[in-house]
Homo-oligomer: 182 residues x 2
């Protein structure tokens, strides 16, 4: 029977996600993480080199989580049904993990650690390729991803006003898909 440590690399990541989702990025500090773990801020430096290392790890967590949600949604589906399911999963993830999502698409990431980010890009590229008939159709993937990100970003920022998006997602997605294929 050992003396379990009060915290560890994974536990730190977990509470960091909770803080960011509940109170936003400004509330994430070494002190706030420590408080949530019942530990002093200085102790965290035994698990992560500095705050930047924690944020870097969070980026991987976020990209992997989105990748997995989209992969599950894609399932064994084919063609346009598959792509629509992936798009829906993308938007749902952004809604349910608003702060974490920012790490995937809105924040500039260190070019080193985009392991999960590259997998995500490949997944989108593959889904789009299945409907345009063009494998590696970068331009089409950029178009679709732009629409998806723009929609969740503007909606999340309340830019569609009190009246809301009024079916703009369905309309935009249908238009983009039709336009990319035709």
């Amino acid at each position: 029977m050992s003396f379990p440590a009060k915290t560890g690399a994974d536990a730190i990541l977990k509470v960091a996600v909770d803080i960011v989702e509940a109170e936003g990025w400004d509330a994430l500090s070494m002190r706030s993480i420590g408080l949530a773990l019942g530990v002093r801020a200085s102790s965290l430096y035994h698990h992560y080199r500095d705050k930047g290392a924690i944020e870097e790890a969070l980026g991987e967590v976020a990209a992997r989580a989105l990748f997995e949600a989209m992969t599950v949604a894609a399932g064994r589906k084919k063609g346009q049904v598959r792509l629509r399911a992936m798009a829906d999963a993308y938007v749902a993830f952004a809604h349910e993990n608003a702060a974490l999502y920012q790490l995937v698409a809105a924040r500039r990431t260190a070019s080193d650690t985009q392991v999960a980010g590259k997998a995500l890009w490949q997944l989108i590229l593959d889904g789009v390729g299945q409907v345009t008939g063009n494998r590696d159709d970068t331009a089409a993937a950029v178009g679709l991803w732009s629409f998806l990100h723009g929609y969740v970003a503007l909606e999340g920022a309340g830019k569609f006003g009190a009246s809301g998006a009024k079916g703009g997602y369905e309309r935009g997605l249908s238009a983009m898909l039709r336009g990319l294929i035709g």
Copy 2:
């Protein structure tokens, strides 16, 4: 001949824009604004109630500037030519005023002071309406705006990787317009 004040509401806004464009939002502080004006931070409180009031004013500046750029681009053009010109102006503005642009589309704004923001939305709605034939086609405007914002946001965050967007803007815009009309 009077003793001119070293600063004023407009001068403060001007240097605030410069700081934000040159060094980003984190660099904007009462101290940095004062430094750029040759004035102490405490003096600024005679012109703006607090930092939030400055940011609020910046939001109006940004929305108005984008509105004017798009209006000039639209000129007396009609239909799809007009809408494409507006879209191009939107992207160009975002490129040339990266930090200020975030205030238009990425940051949550106080619902009170969206004067210029509403004018911008009306302009987009009008441009889209001219090509879909539907005045007040909210869903279509949401779709197009989503694509435009998503594109500049992802591009600005470097999410398209070293290879770049590879014609994704033209492809996505054409697809969206075709899809919205057809």
